[in-house]
């Protein structure tokens, strides 16, 4: 099967998820922050499909996040309040938009690709700002209600349902990401990142694969955006801003690219640091955040997720080494 090898999910990996699921009981005051982290982590996972796997770079990924958010909000404002279909709509709209622009993005590389994605993001932001009738302009969209999740869990004032919902969607996105990374499609994306010419000689239409990867990443970003709109029951222009694109790139730099925990670790550390530093130093917290980011990339260039991966990689070796010593001791 395709899940053999280092990308197989270890049973012990359930533990951090159980810890996250227990947050409402452990730290009920932090569920709102928890929701934000889950959404940012899902958004980072989507960008990691591009950056960590396909080798594409983007400074406009928030365009798809924002499109998903506006799609879900508009659907709810026009009377369709079922959350899961709202998520699907967010993903669909983002995916369709990505399919339109992807041929342009994958035509170029490096700096040109950064400029194209940045340009597309800025154009969409400006268009959304002008289309007040549709987007509410600077005021954004709010004042919509959502039905209970699965008809069972109504959204509450304290954000418990929102947190559970965001965590469940993140878990589903995480499983999807893991499965995709361990599929021939995921291998092909990484093959294209390493050696596009060799992939062509193996019969892979690289351009087509990259377009498909770009669309899949956009769908995931759209779902993350829709999730934000639904859990906060509002959407603002900021959701498709350059700032949002840069933020998720920072998260990936912190967490590391190409591994399934990079986005999660990055989002957790970034949001926790932001929360802590802004409380500690309300006026200068962004400066401290910048310093912390610089320190991280200088000390652990592969990101914090890379450290976790290396530690995880050492566990079996330690285990084997211990086993060898025991066996040797037995023989003597």
């Amino acid at each position: 099967m395709t899940t053999l090898g280092p990308r197989r999910v270890h049973p012990a990996e359930i533990l951090p998820w159980l810890a996250l699921a227990a947050l409402p009981w452990i730290a009920p005051d932090h569920v709102l922050l928890g929701s934000q982290i889950a959404i940012l982590a899902l958004f980072a996972l989507s960008l990691d499909l591009l950056v960590g796997h396909a080798g594409l770079v983007s400074l406009g990924h928030a365009a798809f996040f924002g499109l998903g958010a506006y799609a879900a909000a508009l659907l709810a404002l026009h009377g369709w309040s079922e959350p899961l279909t709202g998520l699907a709509a967010g993903g669909l709209v983002a995916g369709l938009a990505a399919a339109l622009v992807a041929p342009l993005v994958v035509r170029v590389h490096g700096l040109a690709q950064l400029m194209v994605t940045l340009g597309l993001g800025l154009m969409l932001h400006e268009a959304a700002s002008r289309a007040r009738v549709l987007t509410g302009g600077d005021d954004g969209l709010s004042g919509f209600d959502l039905s209970p999740v699965l008809g069972l869990f109504p959204f509450d004032l304290y954000g418990f349902t929102a947190y559970g919902y965001a965590l469940a969607v993140l878990a589903a996105g995480f499983l999807f990401y893991t499965r995709l990374a361990a599929s021939p499609f995921g291998y092909a994306l990484r093959g294209l990142k390493q050696n596009p010419a060799r992939m062509a000689a193996l019969g892979t239409d690289g351009r087509r694969r990259l377009i498909q990867g770009f669309v899949v990443a956009a769908v995931l970003a759209g779902i993350a955006g829709a999730l934000l709109a639904q859990t906060t029951q509002s959407v603002a222009l900021e959701s498709l801003s350059f700032h949002r694109s840069a933020e998720v790139l920072i998260v990936l730099c912190l967490g590391g690219t190409g591994g399934r925990y990079g986005g999660l670790v990055g989002a957790l550390v970034y949001m926790a640091a932001r929360d802590w530093l802004s409380a500690l130093s309300p006026h200068y917290w962004t400066g401290w955040l910048g310093a912390a980011m610089m320190l991280t990339v200088l000390v652990v260039p592969g990101g914090l997720g890379g450290v976790a991966r290396r530690l995880h990689g050492r566990l079996p070796r330690l285990h084997r080494a211990t086993g060898t010593r025991v066996a040797a001791g037995g023989e003597s």
Partner: protein, 232 residues
């Protein structure tokens, strides 16, 4: 009469303005084997790359089962049934052995189980990353990966180069078994005897041209002739 699996007619090709191949003609029938012999730098690898569509062709036709494929990109040629094991192997270093095999797998009789049965060393190393393999194992992986494309014609560019003797035997055994399955082979090899043993026909190249054609068995039986033709 059905056309040959692959026919090359008057192909002239090279890189940019540099012409390397000059008027190459050859044909490979379904299930046939061709040894491509000659000293270093005579154009053997360029011919293989031209068959894959990776050089600048300035004249001639390349016919796949009678269809001119000279204008098709490499990816299209692979989909038609061309498989290539490049000289440099070029495995994906950060993919595991199994991921390398699955990265471009195409449906057909060659699947993971069959590749692992042919190349058990790969099964043992399936979870290892590409960079963790020895040169011989990388060669096996490059061969296995090409088989996962389910080709009708396999282009082998110096598959024994730089291998330890024990790995040479492993790779040769695998190629011998492949030849027995009816898979067509083109084998570029400095060690002429190994290539001749596994193929039915041979061409000798010099300075971008084919300078001799012979049956592999007849050539194998006449080592002096091999030396005379190839200078090796």
């Amino acid at each position: 009469m059905s056309p040959p699996l692959l026919a090359v007619e008057g192909v002239t090709a090279g890189y940019g303005r540099a012409t390397i191949l000059d008027g190459i003609d050859l044909a490979i029938p379904e299930g046939g084997g061709l040894a491509l012999l000659g000293r270093n730098g005579v154009g053997k690898t360029t011919l293989i790359r031209t068959l894959m569509g990776l050089t600048d062709r300035t004249a001639g036709r390349i016919l796949w089962r009678g269809r001119d494929v000279a204008g098709l990109p490499a990816a299209e040629r692979v989909r038609l049934g061309l498989g290539w094991v490049p000289q440099e192997r070029r495995i994906f270093r950060t993919l595991s052995v199994q991921e390398n095999l699955e990265v471009a797998a195409r449906p057909g009789p060659w699947d993971l189980a069959r590749v692992y049965a042919l190349l058990p060393r790969l099964a043992e190393r399936r979870a290892n990353q590409g960079w963790q393999l020895s040169g011989g194992e990388q060669q096996l992986l490059a061969l296995g990966r090409a088989l996962m494309l389910n080709p009708d014609l396999l282009l082998l560019d110096e598959p024994l180069e730089g291998l330890a003797p024990v790995m040479v035997d492993v790779v040769l055994d695998a190629i011998r078994e492949l030849a027995g399955t009816g898979l067509a082979l083109v084998m570029v090899e400095q060690h002429a005897a190994d290539a001749l043993e596994l193929t039915g026909h041979a061409v000798v190249m010099d300075r971008g041209r084919i300078v001799a054609r012979a049956g592999s068995a007849a050539l194998l039986a006449d080592p002096a002739r091999i030396v005379e033709l190839t200078g090796l």
